[in-house]
Amino acid sequence: MATQRISGSEAVILSLLEEGVDTIFGYPGGAIMPIYDALYDYDQKVTHYLTRHEQGAIHAAEGYAKVTGKAGVCFATSGPGATNLVTGLADAMIDSIPVVCITGQVSSPLLGTDAFQESDVVGITMPVTKWNYQVTSADEIPEAIAKAFHIANTGRPGPVLIDIAKDAQFGMFDFEYKKCTKLRSYLPEHPVDPFQVKAAADIINAAKKPLILFGHGVMIAHAEAELKELIEKTGIPAAWTLLGLSALPTDHPLNVGMLGMHGNYGPNIKTNEADVIISVGMRFDDRVTGKVAAYARQAKIVHLEIDPAEINKIIKADAPVLGNAKKSLRMLIDNVNTNSHEEWIKEFRACDKIEYDKVIEKDIYPTQSGLTMGEVVRIASEKTNHDAILVTDVGQQQMIASRYFKFSQPRSNVTSGGLGTMGYALPAAMGAKIGMPDRVVFAMAGDGGFQMTIQELGTIAQYNLDIKIIVLNNNFLGMVRQWQQLFFEKRYSFTEMKNPDFVGIAKAYGLASQKVTSRDQLETAVQEMLDHNGPYVLEVVVEKEDNVFPMVPAGASVSDIILEP
């Protein structure tokens, strides 16, 4: 490529174009104005979405990355603009989401002088980024951006941040772009070792009661087909983690449901009965394991994982297989025997029956007068033929939706798993809809989380983002209230909420909306929302004090999962 003499700001835009970026979420401000000025000339090639808060921009970038598999890009100005990104960075870090953030910074001679809107962004974001870098000279820009995309997208993905001083944005230099494909200090993935695969296959081939646990890593590696092939060849039942949702169709006969604190009864109980656990692209989060000392002690553990630091971090692996899941699964498939485990699977189905009778039926087909979150989720899923993208917030509605929403395609579930970020759903759904404009996108939030980023209704209205927003309103911070009820003697300390008129708010933003308070209105209302061409806010007033079950109480073993209080 021939060089051309341009400003640092224009170099930022051209570098992003070189990386195939066509979507940016952001919020301008003083220190990033030169970059926004350069962006003005490229509106045919890249679409910028002005959010209503920088947190909205980064969650949108996360949602976009989650559904497309491409890094989300986010702009913010210095000082408060940059610090408002921190929650999103921490969220993307713990959930391995590729996000590239570009922040403006005060001019380099002012660094360290407490200049207006100066904050030590590189220092502040160090623990919550996979990599970050401060640019103080225009000619560093192409290389920094090339490195940023390489690091964000490869290996175990994560957020990166480039902080660009204002004088570097103005500086002129000869621009030339070279993609970064290799850094000697950074090995994105280990080549898969055939001996590790063989050892894993030997354990799997000898197993009588094996159980596969799969997580987000499967989708990051685009290994959904390989996972399915392994499961079908070996006949091994498979359970997903919260972030593994949708990597396999919900109705696959060997899908035995969700692990963890509010997961399904079968996979939790059977974790402590299996003789072999094969975990793929998951990291044994404490919400999955419960009490580690009582977790799968009887089982041999096979762990397919890309990040060496995750091997033996929580659960010791008898047969670790380091590397990219797409490659390691392929090699594993070639080394395992065709098998079936019908008796073992019947045990899961027996658990399903117990769970259905004690919990599920009354959640999704309730007979009580108040509406349940479960029936709303069931209807939303049914009316979209189980083929929509679900974006959830954090709390009771997240757990209920994760339990009852059904998926038929991968990358259809967007949620804040590791960090548990309330306020995530609305902005993340914007990114999901922009990334996958042809699919139905639900944003599901409670009354608490909805109000944390409610200002993004403005963004949704401005760009007419066709998101179906369901607010499950129980006038409580429901999950905290549930814990207060179960573990703090019903002392409802600061969890009850007096809420505004959500329909009125939606209407003030120019959005279609309605409120549902009884069962006979529900199906019609969901249908009306889906039939409406454009964004829609559906408020559903649900039972005030419903609880999410089953539950592995904090500190208990997965086999001590309880079905009712």
Partner: protein
């Protein structure tokens, strides 16, 4: 059981890396007993020598987290008996004690220390050794009164005759080729 470990971090030469490295320790509430940064025998490769007291399990996990840092090349953890190491200490005492008797001179001589600077007011003594040795000299001199004292971070070297990183760099190059 906790014991002393020497953690050697080989890295690229980048600003801010020291912070990224120490964050791994502070996040886990591990105290850094000593820290030395210097260029290694390989040009452009820097070496952080960090001393901590921890259990083998925690050390293994810290090493894993340190190796995740993008600009870090390789991390080694060793127990003290696996490495040759030294620290340097400087002591300042008032010159009058040197002339009052031959005690200070004997202490310096017996401990293998040396006098770096001698003025009318003070004398600066230098001693290299393990921290128990430099501490012992401190205790002996402090009978007279040490007015200033400083001990460096630990420097440590392996018993192998090459920089262990050069082997790693060769392997890394091969691996990067393989994953392409």
């Amino acid at each position: 059981m906790k014991q002393e470990y020497i953690i050697t971090v080989f890295s690229e030469d980048h600003i801010g890396l020291l912070s990224r490295i120490t964050i791994v320790f502070t996040r886990r509430k591990i105290n850094i007993d000593s820290l030395t940064v210097s260029e290694s025998a390989i040009t452009g490769v820097f070496k952080f020598t960090i001393v901590i007291r921890e259990t083998p399990d925690r050390v293994e996990k810290v090493v894993g987290q340190l190796e995740k840092i993008v600009d870090v090349l390789k991390v080694f953890a060793n127990t003290n008996d696996e490495m040759i190491f030294q620290e340097i200490a400087l002591y300042k005492v008032s010159t009058e004690f040197l002339f009052e008797s031959d005690k200070v001179e004997k202490i310096v001589r017996n401990s293998g220390a040396r006098i770096l600077e001698l003025t009318r007011e003070y004398v600066v003594i230098e001693k290299t050794g393990h921290s128990d040795e430099t501490q012992r000299l401190f205790d002996e001199l402090n009978v007279f009164g040490v007015t200033q004292f400083i001990r460096s971070g630990r420097v440590a070297i392996t018993r192998s005759n090459i920089e262990r990183l050069s082997v790693f760099l060769k392997e890394r190059d091969a691996m990067l080729e393989q994953v392409d």
